[in-house]
Amino acid sequence: MRYLIVIIILASWGCNKKTQKSIYLQKSNTTLSTPSISVDEAFFDIRTLIRVDNVDPKIDIRHTIDETEPTQNSPLAKNHIIVSETGIHKFKAFQKGVKYSNTVTVEAIEARKVNWIGLVSNDPNQNYNSGIGVLTDHKKGDWNFRSDEWYGYQDSIVKFSFTLEEGEVINGAIVSSMIDQNSWIFSPVNVSLNYHFEDGTKENHELSISDCMVQSEKQMNYLKITTPPRYPNRIDVIVYNMLSIPDWHPGKGLKPWLFVDEILIL
């Protein structure tokens, strides 16, 4: 009887003992990475080129221009796409048997190149000061805010002033900035566009942004003010930074960063 109990216990232990088997990542659980898309000039005056770096012949990159998500039935993206109008281009990679990628969104903005002389009310942080020329060079900064295309501030208010050549018609402006909350970079809360005319009169246009919500993804941020056609001889673009980082953020109470890479004229 005693041997029987021992045998039953051992048999029971043997049945319960699980075989440790590793779970390997399989094809059906593999997700394609987002396709590598670049644009020659995100801000262009006549035309620009979007370049599509395909990963592999087995991978299809699909493309939309109507702001809808690309599907397997969307048009195939060629190696490069010539763009001559402002638009939002979305790309997604597909491969049979593998999960499709996240979407890459590229915005190309038509904006005139204007000859103007710029002044800034206060200097940016010394580590993020590449000279005022970057604000009007029509080159889009990349995600690396330390690159030579960005102006970085912790100031509350920054005023960019531009003297225009006589006879320039102005229909508004775009402030191109970045949101990267993991790096403590937030959207401005307000943009003011002031026209100064030759006769001494002024005209003010405002854009308020209620956008200090959590943004888990980094984002390029285009703040656009459209106005009736005007012929000012000077414009001031005043950008208002958030006064302090909101309570939900690890940097709560401290000064947020504001990064601007371009001021565009419409």
Partner: protein, 323 residues
Amino acid sequence: MYLAGYTFVGDDLIIGHGDFKYKVIVDWGNLDKLTTPVSDCHEMVQDSKGRIILLTNNTKNNVIIYNKDGKLIETWGNKYPGAHGLTIKNEGGEDFLYITDTEKSFVVKTTLCGREIMKINRPSGFDTADNKLNFVPTETAIVENGDIYIADGYGSQYIYIYDQNGRLKSRFGGPGKEDDQFYNCHGVAIDERSGIPRILVTAREKNQLKYFTTSGVYESTIELPGAYICRPVIHEENIFLATIWSGDKGDNTGFISILDKDNKLVSAPGGRVPQYEGSKLKKMTQAYQVFKHPHDVCVDDDENIYVPQWNAGQVYPMKLIRV
């Protein structure tokens, strides 16, 4: 055209290139999240007994010790909320850990059981009237004579050199665009492959590794365009690096970088096939979303790799089996 350079064995994905290809175990080291949780998994090392040691900033158990199969052996540590850098050094036959804490701004040396031996706080003597030194240490490396190199990667951008008793000797680097300066000197290691110890420092935002003499004189740079790298891990004749972001620094775009003895990128598990034009590496990007934000690699004595991740949904480390 770039190539992803993947293969499948049956349904299993094989990542990596050349001689460095791996299958991915996705459930290695999974533990009960209630009793043994992790937050960010920052770094891993293997001790002299072959055990795998993980450092997390979860103060329920800052240090988790596994066997190579991913079974839990023990845990300790509840006072390192900014636990970030983990280096192991065998001194006189005993293993010691060097932990950096980016929240409490110190480096602590402990035994493998967690007994604190020495603590290095914010270096004094560098404050100026209008600028107080910001000390946020991310990594350590220790040379044979016991000198401790501390990378202040989230702080002043200097590499501080201390002696084995914790006395400050000197510093080099600092923030800036010059060859001997950094934006995010996130990692530091001792490269003794040539027979002469040299200090290898990560310049993450520049996508570079930089060589210095042990006294801090700049020597040369390794360019890794598109690779936002963490600390260099030197194993046999290769350098292994977690690449936390890639390409244009988009979220969840990490992969692993492996350099050969000539410091040329020869394999990028999770990334695209490394391609050179002459001596210049083409910009690297991720190929498959195997990883989100890899933060370190630990190469064990079987040539397998363990990958802890930052900001990846509080997941336990992955293990890559070399094939």
